[in-house]
Every structure is written in C-alpha cells, then in structure tokens.
C-alpha cells in the first residue's frame, strides 16, 4: 500500500513536490512544499482507494539550525478503511511561518492548528479563529520554540558539560 501511495503522489505532484520519502516503524512519511499541502491532503482525501479521511494529529516542530526551514508542521493522516497512516511534513522559514489552513476539510484541525499557533507561532492562513488556546491571551511569545530553554539560565547544577554529556 505504501508503495502505491508514493507512486500516486509522485505522479500527481512530481519529484519536486514529494521528497524525503521514508518509513518510520511502519508509518510512511513524505515531505512537501507549503503550497502543496492543501492540494495533497484534498487529493488523498478524495482518492477512491486511499481515502485518508481521518486527521489523527497535527504537530508543530521547530528546528533552529535548519535555516529557512525552521518551523515545520507534521500532518498525521489515517486511512481508516485501509488502516494506513501517513505523515506529511512541510517546513517554512521562521520569519514567515505561513501555512494554509485545512479546517475547511477537517473540522478537527481547528483546535490542532490553534495549538500549533499557540506554541510555535505558526500562522494558518484562513483559519476561522486563530487565537491562543492553552496559554493565556496576554502571552507575547511562543513557548515551545527552542530559543526558550525550560529552566532558569542562571542555574549551574544541570549543565550537561559538567556531567560529561
């Protein structure tokens, strides 16, 4: 099944639209460009065989070292009919972390996207109500980004170097 999905995606979006193909513990993953997200998810949703019609999860992620591709979104789709899962990943620069919304296709994406916005500052264009969800409204930063270390920077008892890590 995974091979067929890759074949169909490559035929539809070409090699520049589908790359980073891999499999991690049985789950297929592909990487794509931001502008391909909506067409790809719609294509997989409407496909007569694959029927990826269940959005399991949507996770934001931050890679500070990947210049120009700092912020990413992982869409976790599940085809309940075939019992196949698929991760679609896309990355955007931190200066303009704009992603399209998929709330028109999946009602469940509403809060998931709000959560990714809340914690990573990813802007989902077209979202009906893109506001913070778990943190307080007055917060002026996005706390899950890697530039905010969890513990107090003045603490010296947990520096990795001291433990040879």
């Amino acid at each position: 099944m995974n091979d067929k999905i890759i074949e169909a995606l490559l035929a539809q979006f070409g090699e520049e639209g589908v790359y980073g193909i891999g499999e991690s513990h049985g789950i297929l993953q592909v990487t794509t460009e931001v502008e391909n997200i909506v067409p790809m998810i719609h294509f997989l949703y409407a496909h007569p065989v694959f029927k990826f019609q269940f959005l399991t999860d949507l996770a934001g992620i931050h890679f500070p070292e990947a210049k120009g591709q700092e912020l990413g979104v992982i869409y976790h789709l599940h085809s309940l009919e075939n019992n196949v899962r698929l991760w679609i990943k896309a990355y955007a620069p931190i200066e303009a972390p704009n992603f399209p919304t998929i709330t028109d296709l999946f009602a469940t994406a509403n809060w998931m996207e709000r959560e990714a916005f809340d914690f990573y500052g990813i802007i989902f264009e077209g979202h009906p109500n893109l506001t913070r969800i778990l943190n307080m409204d007055e917060m002026d930063y996005h706390p899950m980004r890697k530039e905010y270390p969890l513990e107090d920077a003045t603490r010296h008892d947990k520096i990795d170097e001291l433990f040879g890590r």
Partner: protein, 411 residues
C-alpha cells in the same frame, strides 16, 4: 474574559426596540464554569441562551495547562512517565504503558509475553475505572445517586489493585520500559479474581437501576447526538466515536501488547447520542472483564520484564547488592542513557479514545519533540455543535457523557 464574552455575544447590535416587551428575543450570556460542580473539571463555556435554549457556545480551555510537552523536552524518558499519569488521571496506567510502549518501539525492546499480558490486565482495569467514573457520574448528573454508590466502591477496589502493583492509586507511574516493575503478588491475583467474580453483580445492579430507567432514558436519548460522518470529521475516537456507529478501536485495528490474543467485541451505537455513549461504555466494561478473564486464565509463565539492563530500572534489592545494577540504576535515574535517533508514533486505546505519542528523538537523553495526541482535546471542540438548540440540562449530561477530563484536555 467578560470583554470577550460581550464582543462575541449576539446581543451586540440586537434591536431591542421591538414590540412585545423588553425581554422578547433578548439573548442572555451564561458563564458555565470555569469552576462549576456539574462540569467535572476546570473548563469554561460561555453560553448564549435564548430563554432556556442554547443558541451558541464558546469554549475556553487551558485553565490547568501545565506545559507537559515543553517539560518533556527537558526530561529523561523515565521522568516523562509521571507526566503521562496526569493527563487522563481516571485511567493513568493506560497512559503510562502507552508511553512505555512508545519508547520500547524506539529502542526496539521485545517485551516478554507475561509482561504483555500483565499490561493488558492493568490497562483493562484502568478502562474499567474510567468507564465506571464516566457512567456512574452521568447517572448522578441525571439525578440518580444510588447506582453511583454501588459501582464506585469497585473503582476503589481497583485502586487497591493498583496499590498492590505500584504503590500508588491515582497517579500510578506503573511499569517500566521493558515490562512491569514487579510480578503479580498473591494478593494482587486474589484481588483480581475477586473483582472478576463480584464486579458483574454490581454492574448488573447498576444497569438494572439506570439502563432502562424511564427518567434516565428521557434525559439522555436524542440528547447531544452526532452523526458518524461529523464525528469522524471532528476526529472522534474511542467510545464516543463508536457510539456514533464507527467500529474503530485501536486494540483491534492496530493490536499492541498481545491484544490480538484475546477475543472481545467492539460495541457500536447508532445515533451517537448520550444514551448510546452510555451503552457503549457499559458494554465495554463487560468486554474488559472478558479480556481480563482470558488474560488471567492464560497468563504465561516467564519473566515479567525484558532483559534490557540499559533501560529497565533494576530491582531495588539488586541495586544494593549488585555492582552492575547499581551502575545502571544511577545512569537511568540521572538520565545518562541516550536514546537512538528516530521518529516514532504509537497509539493505544485510552479510556477516551486513541491516545497517541509522537516522539521525535535526536539521539539525546530527552525527546527532541513529544506530542501527545489527547483524544479529549480533539473531540471536545465538537461540544458547541452538539449542544446547539438543546437546553442547559442537556448540555450538562452531554458533557458528562463525553467524559471530558481537564487534565487530558490541557496537558
């Protein structure tokens, strides 16, 4: 909060000069929560009411947000287990073992059969407690206190089994990477056997009181319903999705921890209303008992944990008397052991649905990114759609039957 309520209220811009008195067509705003005895947790609903009918609802969540995903990025893997306890605290062992299985998948640890069966037993006990709480409190919310008292003592009894297995009751921290921290004690086995023998009578008594009760049926049938299509679109999983008629159960679809060895039915409803959710949970309790019975009957002999000294926290006796155990104990407790690079997703059937762990590891001692897929967070957003056009009392039982748990909602 009050400003937001005012701005979003349909009251703004309403023509109040219409004939028929000042109160005709006037919508009012009602704050249900953040703390309200009927909501079983800290979440706020700003309801726009037309008389007693709910016109619109706006939810505010996050009152007990504790930044688990951020904290997890700083903690060694063992210390994350205690975070998972505090998500769905009505069924903490499922969360613990879901997390352990996720890490085992990353590390490639093969868990012995006995440990898998033990996990199944503990997870089904946790499902029992979860459903006992949800269903009996639903009965309380409709005004029936007695049934709640009959079954709640068995939840207490299951907590005693937890105590026997891990020493804790609510936030259990049960199990280790690679298996369980201890074998079943004779007391634990005795208690599980007693539960299997005596819980059915209590459950039957509860069902006899509630299930065909005219008042209960009137309060719950055709209340807070959702179609299968909308439920899937909203990402429902677990009993709430099955009540709508979709037989998606992680235990049968992607079996983990030897669930494929057991015979059990996946009950489904038809309408997805509050009564169906109640019935599905009732039937799941019977199925859980069935699974526990099978697991107890066929409990394999052998070790109760994998031979994985780098990751399995050694027995305390060994730590005192065995040099290697002491070294590994120190390394594990201090979080000195690196995990391999990889990305892994593992999901278990939690009390409320698919509980997923999306773990990205960069080869360090802590996860690079850990995303919890909390079923409660995902399906709670359908609540306004489910209660629109109903009354306040219907909204209370709808929320109760959805089993929204604040800890899971807010991580």
């Amino acid at each position: 909060m009050s400003e937001i309520a005012l701005v979003n209220s349909p009251n703004v811009g309403l023509d109040k000069t219409q004939k028929g008195g000042p109160y005709v067509n006037e919508l009012s705003t009602l704050n249900l929560g953040p703390t309200h005895p009927a909501t079983h947790g800290i979440f706020q609903n700003i309801l726009t009411m037309d008389g007693e009918t709910i016109v619109d609802a706006e939810q505010t969540v996050g009152y007990i947000h504790r930044a688990f995903e951020k904290i997890a990025e700083r903690r060694p893997f063992y210390q994350i287990t205690t975070l998972t306890d505090r998500m769905n605290y009505c069924s903490a062992p499922i969360n613990n073992m879901g997390w352990h299985m996720t890490v085992e998948k990353l590390l490639g640890i093969e868990v012995p059969k006995r440990a898998q069966y033990m996990r199944v037993i503990m997870m089904e006990l946790a499902r029992l407690t979860d459903h006992i709480v949800c269903n009996s409190i639903l009965a309380v919310d409709t005004g029936a206190l007695t049934g709640f008292l009959y079954v709640y003592q068995w939840r207490e009894f299951i907590y005693e089994i937890y105590e026997e297995m891990c020493g804790a009751r609510l936030t259990t921290n049960m199990g280790r990477f690679g298996g369980m921290e201890r074998d079943f004690t004779p007391v634990a086995i005795e208690k599980i056997q007693k539960l299997l023998k005596e819980l059915p009578a209590a459950l039957k008594e509860f069902e006899g009181l509630v299930m065909r009760n005219r008042i209960f049926m009137d309060r719950t049938q055709n209340v807070g319903g959702i179609s299968a299509e909308r439920a899937l679109n909203y990402g429902f999983t677990g009993p709430n999705l099955r009540a709508a008629g979709v037989d998606y159960d992680v235990r049968s679809m992607n079996p983990y921890s030897s669930y494929e060895d057991f015979e059990f039915d996946v009950p489904v409803g038809t309408k997805g209303d509050t009564y169906d959710r109640f019935l599905v949970r009732e039937e799941e309790m019977w199925q859980s008992l069935r699974i526990i019975q099978q697991a107890m009957d066929n409990l394999p002999e052998g070790p109760y944990h994998a031979d994985a000294p780098h990751y399995y926290l050694p027995d305390k006796q060994d730590v005192y008397h065995n040099m290697e155990a002491l070294i590994y104990h120190f390394k594990i407790v201090m979080g000195e052991i690196d995990a391999p690079v990889g990305e892994v997703y593992h999901s278990v059937e939690g009390g409320n649905g698919e509980l997923g762990f999306h773990l990205v590891s960069d080869g360090g001692r802590t996860p690079y990114r850990l995303k919890f897929r909390r079923p409660g967070f995902i399906y709670y957003q359908a609540f306004p759609e489910m209660i629109k056009g109903t009354t306040l009392s219907d909204a209370i039982v709808t929320m109760s039957s959805m089993n929204v748990i604040a800890g899971e909602l807010d991580t």
